[in-house]
């Protein structure tokens, strides 16, 4: 199977992010692979181990995103491609989807594209379904289990996590899918993998290489933009500590307070 997994480099989820001069900063907190994307990489590797084939990791971002691709390679991906161009800066979800869809087309003969369900910086969660739509493929989002892939018959069956439980869906390959945490447990990069990744050549594809229209990506093509970004006002909550001689007394006091404040 020819598998592609899209990874994004984001600040660490524990980083303290703030706004300075209208820009988001995270100090010297490290940049990592978007946590959801690790599950996508793991699934890509598992399916390759099951069915044979190749896994290519792609990332759209600045030069630093190369590190995210190295992590994907160190986990076991066969190849990696950086999609990077000054003209891609400021892309909205659709612009990003256009660039990624072009990359998938350029790779050619792809059976499956995997995404994490959303990136923890933008938190839009739109990219996977939009890439699917632009490629004319079905989108399987919030996949919590892959029941079966039959590469020769070009079908797959998954369980999607919906608000009401799980939905079992069959789809014809090729498919673009986004994954949730319950799908698997991502492996750690192996040390051999780390060595290989540091020596790997990661090509950079520009807008010209992708063959995508410059006016449809980047800030030039963005139909959505962030007009301002700010930290939410800090509501300093005064914690009222409820005490009692016995658990029963504590409970009574707490319930009194909750009912008095019309919380319950």
């Amino acid at each position: 199977m020819n598998i592609v997994v899209c990874v994004k480099q984001t600040p660490d989820s524990a980083a303290k992010v703030s706004v300075e001069g209208g820009h988001v900063t995270w100090g010297d907190a490290p940049l990592i692979v978007n946590p959801w994307d690790e599950y996508a990489v793991e699934e890509a590797l598992r399916q390759k181990e099951k069915h044979g084939g190749k896994v290519t990791a792609i990332s759209m971002g600045p030069e630093s995103a190369r590190e995210a691709l190295k992590t994907a390679l160190a986990m076991g991906c066969d190849e990696a491609i950086l999609v990077s161009d000054a003209g891609l800066k400021g892309s909205d979800s659709l612009g990003t989807a256009r660039a990624l869809a072009s990359a998938v087309r350029k790779i050619g003969s792809v059976d499956l594209v995997l995404f994490g369900r959303q990136a923890i910086d933008g938190d839009t969660g739109l990219t996977a379904a939009q890439v699917a739509h632009l490629l004319g493929w079905p989108a399987l989002t919030y996949v919590a289990a892959v029941e079966e892939i039959k590469p020769e018959a070009k079908t797959m069956r998954v369980q999607r996590m919906i608000d009401e439980g799980r939905q079992v869906v069959e789809a014809q390959l090729p498919v673009a899918m986004s994954v949730v945490k319950e799908l698997n447990e991502p492996r750690y990069p192996s040390f051999m993998g780390i060595r290989k990744a540091s020596k790997a050549t990661i090509p950079t594809w520009s807008i010209a290489d992708l063959g995508v229209e410059a006016s449809k990506v980047g800030s030039a093509g963005a139909l959505v933009s962030w007009s301002e970004i700010y930290a939410p006002p800090v509501h300093k909550v005064e914690c009222e500590v409820v005490k009692g001689e016995t658990p029963q007394e504590t409970a009574r006091t707490l319930v009194d307070r909750l009912i008095a404040e019309k919380v319950i």
């Binding site: 990592i32 992590t71 750690y188 192996s190 040390f191 051999m192 780390i194 990744a197 540091s198």
Partner: protein, 398 residues
């Protein structure tokens, strides 16, 4: 001169950090309270490739460099000292000795399974009557046909009851005029008849680790198990220590970092006299000192690792790094405990464990006093590194 870690080193550091914190971190406190190493520790470290981290791929290892070994040790001890001890004895003291001194045949037999994590390795030099004075080793290795018969006792051996292979030092020539020339090194498989062993209880620290004793009663080992030449044992042991103490130094840097992080966190949470204690200068002094100690310890071990990568002699630098880092780690743990006040005295917080763990490192792998004399020796021109018959191979970029 580039003080930045390469992206390969950064990824390695992050991987070991995530691995140690997620896979083993949650169980450490309980293991320390119980005084036993959890059963999953060694298999998981083996599966991740830690047990062969810096052994060349040709010998079943992960092919990473010596700086990676140091970085890994820093991350492991940041979680608990017992994890770094595994690296010190299995990788540094035993496996690297085989890499440096063993024949090809011996490397195939002993090093490869160790590097793959299939066999666990330990280091058997210390005896009840021989610690700092290693030349006083009394265990004997008596010739018997083509074999040797090993008799003697080793104590304070990390992984004693878990190891499959022990690098065992014994006297082959009791008549030697200079006792330093009478020792030889052997790779002892612990399942040979005549080997008994047990755990040591009651240690102040490193309680989540495994420390014990081994006794040999005329254990027969073939000549193929002798590492290096007869009489070379002491020299071999000393070169082992260059590697062992390097990992101790790196680990101690990780311990200082743990003390610093815990103190910073607590200082921002705890309030006294109307504000965070982070605002009080005497607390600030302690934290500033820990921060300084971490930077120094880190630079010292990285330099030693850099020398190892080039295949250059690093006895002085490894000793200096170990001496400084372990003393600094104890001081840092002592002050971290103080920062935590009464909570520092309770095992609800980690600092008392850091304190107990830190104390041991000033004793093993060369007491602070031994290192003082070593450094004085170098500084006064009383001590010089002679050529070695075999050098630790430089890290080869394949």
């Amino acid at each position: 001169m580039d003080f930045e870690l390469s992206s390969e080193h950064l990824l390695l550091q992050k991987t070991v950090r995530d691995f140690a914190q997620r896979e083993i971190g949650p169980y450490v406190k309980q293991a320390d309270r119980r005084g036993e190493m959890p059963a999953e520790v060694l298999p998981r470290m083996a599966a991740q490739g830690l047990l062969g981290l810096c052994i060349p791929a040709a010998y079943g290892g992960q092919d990473l460099d010596y700086i990676s070994l140091g970085l890994a040790c820093e991350e492991l001890e940041n979680v608990d000292t017992s994890l770094r001890v595994v690296m010190s004895v299995h990788v540094a003291l035993n496996s690297l000795a085989l890499l440096q001194w063993a024949s090809e045949d011996q490397r195939r037999r002993f090093l490869v399974p160790q590097a793959r994590g299939q066999k666990i390795a330990a280091f058997g030099l210390t005896e009840p009557g021989a610690g700092s004075d290693a030349a006083r080793v009394a265990s004997t290795a008596r010739r018997s046909g083509d074999d040797y018969l090993l008799t003697g006792e080793k104590t304070w051996i990390s992984l004693a009851t878990k190891a499959d292979h022990v690098l065992w030092f014994a006297r082959t020539n009791p008549e030697a005029s200079d006792p330093h020339q009478g020792l030889s090194a052997f790779l002892l498989e612990t399942d040979r008849p005549g080997v008994t062993r047990g755990d040591l209880e009651g240690k102040l620290g490193v309680r989540a680790g495994s420390t014990g004793w081994l006794h040999c009663d005329e254990v027969r080992v073939p000549e193929i198990n002798r590492i290096g030449q007869e009489g070379e044992g002491f020299t071999i042991a000393m070169t082992c220590l260059d590697n062992g103490r390097y990992t101790v130094a790196a680990g101690a840097a990780g311990l200082i970092r743990a003390c610093l992080a815990a103190s910073v966190r607590y200082a921002h949470e705890r309030q006294a006299f109307g504000r965070e204690i982070a605002q009080h200068q005497l607390i600030q002094e302690k934290i500033a000192r820990m921060s300084q100690q971490y930077e120094i310890a880190r630079l010292l071990y990285l330099r030693a690792g850099w020398l190892k990568n080039q295949g250059r002699r690093n006895t002085r630098e490894s000793s200096l790094a170990k001496w400084y880092a372990t003393e600094a780690a104890f001081e840092a743990a002592h002050q971290a405990l103080q920062v935590h006040g009464a909570y520092g005295y309770s095992d609800e917080f980690d600092v008392e464990r850091f304190f107990r763990n830190a104390r041991g490192a000033m004793i093993y792998e060369g007491t602070s006093e031994i290192h003082t004399l070593i450094q004085a020796g170098y500084a006064l021109g009383l001590r010089e590194d002679g050529a070695l018959r075999r050098e630790l191979p430089a890290h080869r970029v394949s």
